[in-house]
Symmetry: D2
Subunit: 141 residues, 4 copies
Amino acid sequence: MFTGHYSFRVRYGETDQMNVVYHANYATYFEIGRTEAIRTLGCTYREMEEMGIEMPVTELSIRYLRAARYDEQLTVRTELRELPQKHTIDFHQTILNEKSKLVATGKVTLFFVDRKTRRWVRMPEDLRLRLAPFFASETPR
Amino acid sequence: MFTGHYSFRVRYGETDQMNVVYHANYATYFEIGRTEAIRTLGCTYREMEEMGIEMPVTELSIRYLRAARYDEQLTVRTELRELPQKHTIDFHQTILNEKSKLVATGKVTLFFVDRKTRRWVRMPEDLRLRLAPFFASETPR
Amino acid sequence: MFTGHYSFRVRYGETDQMNVVYHANYATYFEIGRTEAIRTLGCTYREMEEMGIEMPVTELSIRYLRAARYDEQLTVRTELRELPQKHTIDFHQTILNEKSKLVATGKVTLFFVDRKTRRWVRMPEDLRLRLAPFFASETPR
Amino acid sequence: MFTGHYSFRVRYGETDQMNVVYHANYATYFEIGRTEAIRTLGCTYREMEEMGIEMPVTELSIRYLRAARYDEQLTVRTELRELPQKHTIDFHQTILNEKSKLVATGKVTLFFVDRKTRRWVRMPEDLRLRLAPFFASETPR
């Protein structure tokens, strides 16, 4: 399994008049989590796009468990539970607050698309090679 | 069943560098859809809040089927398939583009909370009375 | 002078925990106002982009006069006080609430850029022709 | 003079289809810069709100000098050039990119308001005491 963590503070504009983070912003928090998790592998999502691969979101689900507030430091945990075999990739993500209490959990499915042809493609080989070691013990060959 | 429709145009700032609507904004589109669906009942979500009831989102799921683009006119369809019996309410929502093609489908669960006590409550009686006629044939008493 | 008006409702996610519209969203409201003002001319900003002209913002100023709240119906008034002679265009914009009270005033300067060359260009001829009649009496030839 | 710096990365959802940061987001970047600048003083804006002082924005101006792109690391520099004497406070802010090139400059004026009475008040004494040393040499008494 591959896991990444990223911490950040809730911005003022991300709150709403219920005095908590507006629910749509959690999808953005998840995205930052994925971006920073990939960065720890030594490559970036930006580079993938520059090489011609885009990753649109195809499914998103979020369960909201606790409110998050302005200026709280939140941590997104991003898990890849298995190495993608096809053209989609599933991230299991959770958001924790400063007291390590669960704020939200969710799952995001994206697919790999060739920017020019707009057709689905497999995960870039470079990303696969960087991820493989995290799944080595589980999938011996 | 109670159904509402609301149309609006995609704003420039809602797009991202994939030239499509950024995926988190669909949660906002769903919310506008709910707000406007409730308005057609003759009451507003704003009034409910003023009467002391808040409706935080507890679950959200979205399936993304087609890209939506800047300046496209989208329509959110908001369905309430059953009259809430407890303190939660489920909305089934879809987004259609100008050609009536499905852009996204999703489900949003919210719960009713008393602003002061922060405890779950039942759906306000006023809202129940306005919704009941839409479910009359299905639930004869 | 060319003037356009556009009305819309404040979305829940646009509020912040001060129970008013978060200040950055006014820049978005101004943008919607410009988009809809141009549409009344019989062309759209989307078409301009498709023809290869982009309009990045180069200067923005906003004075905040009154708070705007969730679900309020606001109106953006967009004025073009003179026909652009060079590669920039100045919009004077105001936001009014339901009681026609001033919520905010501002000025936004954009420039015309060729998408491919990334160089400044003059206002597209098509747009000039559509705008000219509004300035005819002021600039007799 | 009091100065603070804060660095962060551009999020995907902050870009638009011009492949650059959507202009309204700069107002948010400025706000993060102010929040983090105040934090370096040993107090937080959150605490000020909890003590009953809000700081709505009353004026904002931004000049956009260079485009900022997805995943770029930007730095907001926040300057307080003089100790506020009345109920307003002026921040001069700039955004720099990774190469220390100017991306944007701006000025934001906020005022101090009592949350309950909704009336303007002076800067909280606690904040004044923390800021005073930065202006000591300039304003000997």
